[in-house]
C-alpha cells in the first residue's frame, strides 16, 4: 500500500480550485485499491476546509493547525516535511503556484527527495514514476523519472487535471505542526491593481480582440457581443497598452496565460508569438482574420477568413434569433 499526499492550497478563506485538480491527479497514481489519497490542509482554521475537501477520491484528510491563516513558506515547509516523514508517501503533489515556489524546492533538496516542477502529465510506466513537463520555454516535452527515490515531490500545473465529481466520506484527523520559527509576517492582504476585474485565467470561454478592431469606439460592440455570447472579452497587448481594455484582460507573454480556457475566439488578432504564448494550449481556438496568412491560423482549430465586423454582425443576429 502506498500513500499519495496532496497539499491543499487556500487563500482568503477559500480553497483554490487547483486543490481538486491535484486530487484528480493523485487518483490517477493509485496502483492498487489499497493505495490512499491523503489531503493535508495547513492553517489556523484548517478544520473549516474539511467539508469542502470531502470529495470523491479522497481517503483521508489531515488538518494541521498553524499559527498563520495565510501561506507562510517556513510553516508549510516544516509541516510538509514532518508529514512526509510521518506518512512516508510515494508522491507528494503540490500546486505549481507562487506558494509552492516558496518552499517546494527547499523541501525536496534538503531531504534528497525526487523533484519535478510544472508537471502536466504524471503516470507510472511499469513501476517507474514518470513526470512530463515543458522544456526550452515549452518548446519540447521532457519526461523526468526518479531512479532510486522513494519519495517524489511534484508541483502540478493548474487547469490540466479535471476535478473528479461527486462527494466522498474520508476520515478526518489532526496532525501536529512541529515547532517552527517563521521568518516572515503576514501584515496585510493587498489585492493586485485592477483586482476587482474578472480573473481571466479561470474562465473557460474567451473572445479576444486585437489590432483588427481599428478604433477604440469599436471595442464596445465586441464587449456587447461577448456579453451576449456569455464570453469574457480579452485582448492582445496593443489594445491594453492603448488603455482600451484593462491590463487584467491582456492575454500573452506580457499579460496572462488563460489556463482554464476551453474556447478562444480570436478576433482580428494576427497571432504574434508573444500573444500565442498565452493561449496556444486552448483546445478549441477559432480565429477570424481578413488575412489568410495570419499566424493565428496555424494554431486555430477553426479559421474564418472574414472581416471581424461582418462576423460580429452575423453572430449577433444569430444569437438574437
Amino acid at each position: 500500500m502506498s500513500t499519495i499526499l496532496v497539499i491543499a492550497e487556500h487563500r482568503r478563506n477559500e480553497l483554490r480550485p487547483v486543490t481538486f485538480e491535484l486530487i484528480s491527479a493523485a487518483q490517477g497514481l493509485k496502483k492498487s485499491a489499497d493505495d490512499k489519497v491523503v489531503v493535508a490542509v495547513i492553517g489556523s482554521q484548517a478544520e473549516t476546509y474539511t467539508a469542502a475537501l470531502s470529495v470523491s477520491g479522497v481517503d483521508e484528510i489531515l488538518t494541521i493547525p498553524a499559527p498563520v491563516s495565510e501561506f507562510d513558506p517556513d510553516v508549510y515547509e516544516a509541516a510538509v516535511s514532518a508529514l512526509i516523514e510521518a506518512k512516508n508517501p510515494s508522491v507528494a503533489l503540490l500546486p505549481h503556484s507562487v506558494d509552492s515556489l516558496g518552499y517546494a524546492a527547499t523541501l525536496a533538496s534538503k531531504a534528497g527527495y525526487g523533484f519535478a516542477t510544472d508537471v502536466f502529465i504524471v503516470e507510472y510506466q511499469g513501476n517507474d514514476l514518470v513526470a512530463t513537463r515543458g522544456g526550452y520555454n515549452q518548446k519540447v516535452n521532457v519526461e523526468v523519472d526518479f531512479p532510486g527515490k522513494s519519495v517524489v515531490v511534484m508541483t502540478i500545473r493548474a487547469s490540466v487535471f479535471k476535478p473528479l465529481e461527486g462527494s466522498g466520506s474520508p476520515t478526518v484527523s489532526n496532525f501536529d505542526l512541529p515547532a517552527v520559527q517563521s521568518r516572515s509576517q503576514n501584515k496585510e492582504f493587498v489585492e493586485q491593481g485592477g483586482g476587482n476585474d474578472i480573473d481571466i485565467t479561470t474562465v473557460d470561454f474567451i473572445m479576444s480582440i486585437g489590432r483588427g478592431i481599428g478604433e477604440e469606439t469599436n471595442v464596445e460592440q465586441f464587449r456587447e457581443l461577448a456579453e451576449t455570447a456569455g464570453a469574457t472579452l480579452c485582448c492582445s497587448r496593443p489594445i491594453a497598452d492603448a488603455g482600451w481594455l484593462p491590463k487584467s484582460r491582456q492575454v500573452g507573454q506580457s499579460g496572462k496565460v488563460v489556463g482554464s480556457c476551453k474556447l478562444y475566439v480570436a478576433l482580428g488578432i494576427s497571432g504574434s508569438i508573444q500573444h500565442m504564448a498565452g493561449m496556444k494550449h486552448v483546445p478549441t481556438i477559432v480565429a477570424i482574420n481578413t488575412d489568410p496568412s495570419a499566424s493565428i491560423f496555424t494554431i486555430a482549430k477553426y479559421g474564418i477568413v472574414a472581416d471581424i465586423f461582418d462576423f460580429e454582425e452575423e453572430l449577433n443576429s444569430q444569437l438574437a434569433a
Partner: protein
C-alpha cells in the same frame, strides 16, 4: 564600442557576431563578397535556413536569396511567408511548374500570397484546374477585375461557380460590370454582397428595392444613395438588423433618427446614440435610456453638450462614467471629479485622457491600480520627473507606458534600454528620442529579436544614405 560608420563595418560586425538573425538584418546592405559570407552564416545550417524562411520578420532580400533552394520544406515556408517578395513568388511558381510532379498545395500558397504578381494570378486563373488554387485567386486582394472576370467566364457552368461568385462579389476590385453579372446570376447572399459593394452601380440599387430578402434589404438600408422615402420605409422594417443599417446611414433624416431613437430594439438605439448629428431632443431621450450601452455610447459621443456630460458622469454604471472620461471633449472640470471615481477603470480613462492636466496626473500617480498608472505613463501631459520615476516601476506594463509616451525624453528613456523585458528594449530601437550611440549596444543584446531589430535599424541608415 563605437557605432559602425559604414555599411561594410556594420556587416563585418554582424558576421563577427556569428548569428543568423543579425546576418539577415544587414543582408540588403552587404557587398557581394560579404553577401556570400552572410549566406554561409544564414543558410549553412538547414535549421537556420528553415527558421529564416518561416520567420515573419525575415527581410524580403533574404527570402529572395533563399528562393533558389531546392529543399521542399524551405519552399513551402517561403510560399507561406507573407514577406516573400513578388519576384521570388514568381520564381517559385515557375520552378514549381517545371517540376515533373507539381504540387497543388504549393500552387494554393502562391495563389493566396499577397505579393503574387498579376501575371502569376492570371496564369493560375487561366490554366490551373485545382479548385483550391482558383478560389484562392478569387480571394486574393492582389487580383484585379480582369483576373476575376477570367475566373467567372471560365467556370460559368462548374461546381465551384457558387463559391467563386461569393468570393468575387466581396472582392474590392470587382468592377461594376462584373457586379451586374453577379447580381443577375447569383443567389441571395451574392446579391446582398453585390448591393453592399463599394462599386455597386445605382441601377442595381433600384432593382434591389423590389427584393424582399432580409440580407439584401440590410445591405440596401446602408446605401447612401437612397432617397428619403425609401429610408423612411426601411426604418419601419420588421427586421432589427435592417433598422440598424438605417440607423447607421449618414443620410437618415432627423425624423427617421427621432423615430429610431425610441425603437423597441436596444441595438438600434445604441447605433443612434453614436451618431454625430443628433438633435437636443433626441439626446435628451437617449440620456435617460434604460439600456446602459445606449447611455455609454452617448457618453462617448463627442457632439454632446456639457449638461449631458455632467449628467452621465454621475451615472450609476461605471461604463457610462468611463465613456465620459474617454470622450475627447470631456470637460476638464469633470475629469477632476472622475479621477476620484471608485472604479479603477474610470480613473484609468482619466489617466489616458489627453485633456487631463499635469497636476491631476501627478495625483493619479499615487493610485495603486496598474491600469491607472499605465495611463499616467502613457499620457503626453505627464511631467518628465514623474515619467522618470515610473521607469523604475515594478510593473512592466507601466514601464512600457513610458516607452510608448511620445513626450518621454532621451534622459527619461535611457534607463529603459537596460529593461529586463526584451520587448521593451526592442521597442526602444526605433525611438527617435534616443541617439544612435545609446542604442548601439542593443546590437549585442542577449535576445536575438533585439539584435535583429538593432542591426536592421543601423542597416537602414546606409540604405537611406546610398539612395
Amino acid at each position: 564600442m563605437r557605432v559602425a560608420n559604414s555599411a561594410t563595418a556594420l556587416v563585418d560586425l554582424a558576421l563577427k557576431a556569428g548569428d543568423s538573425y543579425s546576418a539577415a538584418a544587414v543582408y540588403s546592405i552587404a557587398e557581394s563578397k560579404q553577401k556570400h559570407q552572410l549566406k554561409e552564416l544564414m543558410f549553412g545550417k538547414r535549421r537556420d535556413a528553415l527558421a529564416l524562411a518561416r520567420w515573419e520578420h525575415t527581410p524580403a532580400s533574404v527570402l529572395e536569396a533563399l528562393c533558389s533552394a531546392s529543399d521542399d520544406a524551405i519552399v513551402v515556408r517561403l510560399d507561406k511567408n507573407q514577406n516573400t517578395p513578388t519576384l521570388a513568388i514568381s520564381k517559385l511558381y515557375v520552378a514549381e511548374n517545371q517540376r515533373s510532379k507539381s504540387s497543388a498545395s504549393l500552387t494554393v500558397l502562391v495563389a493566396q500570397h499577397r505579393h503574387a504578381s498579376l501575371s502569376v494570378l492570371k496564369n493560375i486563373a487561366q490554366f490551373e484546374d485545382d479548385e483550391a488554387s482558383l478560389l484562392a485567386v478569387s480571394k486574393n486582394l492582389a487580383a484585379n477585375s480582369e483576373v476575376l472576370s477570367i475566373l467567372l467566364d471560365r467556370f460559368e457552368s462548374s461546381s465551384i461557380l457558387a463559391a467563386l461568385q461569393k468570393n468575387i462579389s466581396e472582392h474590392p476590385s470587382t468592377s461594376p460590370q462584373l457586379l451586374e453579372q453577379l447580381y443577375e446570376k447569383g443567389d441571395v447572399y451574392v446579391k446582398a454582397a453585390v448591393i453592399g459593394h463599394a462599386n455597386c452601380p445605382l441601377q442595381l440599387i433600384d432593382k434591389a428595392l423590389l427584393e424582399e430578402n432580409v440580407f439584401i434589404q440590410r445591405q440596401l438600408a446602408a446605401d447612401k444613395r437612397l432617397n428619403n422615402e425609401v429610408i423612411s420605409r426601411l426604418s419601419l422594417h420588421q427586421d432589427k438588423s435592417v433598422r440598424c443599417a438605417v440607423a447607421s446611414n449618414a443620410i437618415a433624416s432627423n425624423d427617421v433618427i427621432k423615430l429610431l431613437a425610441v425603437d423597441e430594439s436596444d441595438v438600434v438605439r445604441r447605433v443612434i446614440a453614436s451618431r454625430l448629428d443628433l438633435t437636443s431632443h433626441v439626446i435628451s431621450r437617449l440620456m435617460n435610456d434604460q439600456d446602459v450601452w445606449v447611455r455609454q455610447k452617448l457618453a462617448r459621443n463627442p457632439t454632446v453638450s456639457f449638461g449631458v456630460f455632467d449628467k452621465l458622469s454621475k451615472d450609476l454604471q461605471a461604463d457610462v462614467r468611463r465613456g465620459v472620461a474617454r470622450n475627447p471633449r470631456c470637460p476638464v472640470k469633470l475629469l477632476h471629479l472622475l479621477a476620484k471615481d471608485e472604479d479603477y477603470w474610470v480613473r484609468s480613462a482619466v489617466a489616458y485622457q489627453h485633456r487631463t492636466s499635469k497636476q491631476l496626473l501627478i495625483e493619479l500617480a499615487d493610485d495603486t491600480a496598474v491600469d491607472v498608472l499605465s495611463g499616467v505613463a502613457n499620457n503626453p501631459n505627464t511631467p518628465q520627473r514623474l515619467l522618470k520615476k515610473l521607469t523604475a516601476s515594478a510593473e512592466a506594463d507601466v514601464r512600457r507606458g513610458v516607452i510608448l509616451n511620445p513626450s518621454a525624453t532621451r534622459l527619461t528613456l535611457l534607463p529603459l534600454l537596460e529593461d529586463a523585458y526584451y520587448l521593451h528594449r526592442l521597442m526602444l530601437v526605433g525611438n527617435s528620442k534616443l541617439k544612435d550611440k545609446d542604442k548601439w549596444h542593443l546590437c549585442f543584446d542577449p535576445d536575438y529579436q533585439v539584435r535583429f531589430t538593432a542591426f536592421k535599424y543601423f542597416a537602414g541608415h546606409f540604405i537611406k544614405s546610398s539612395s
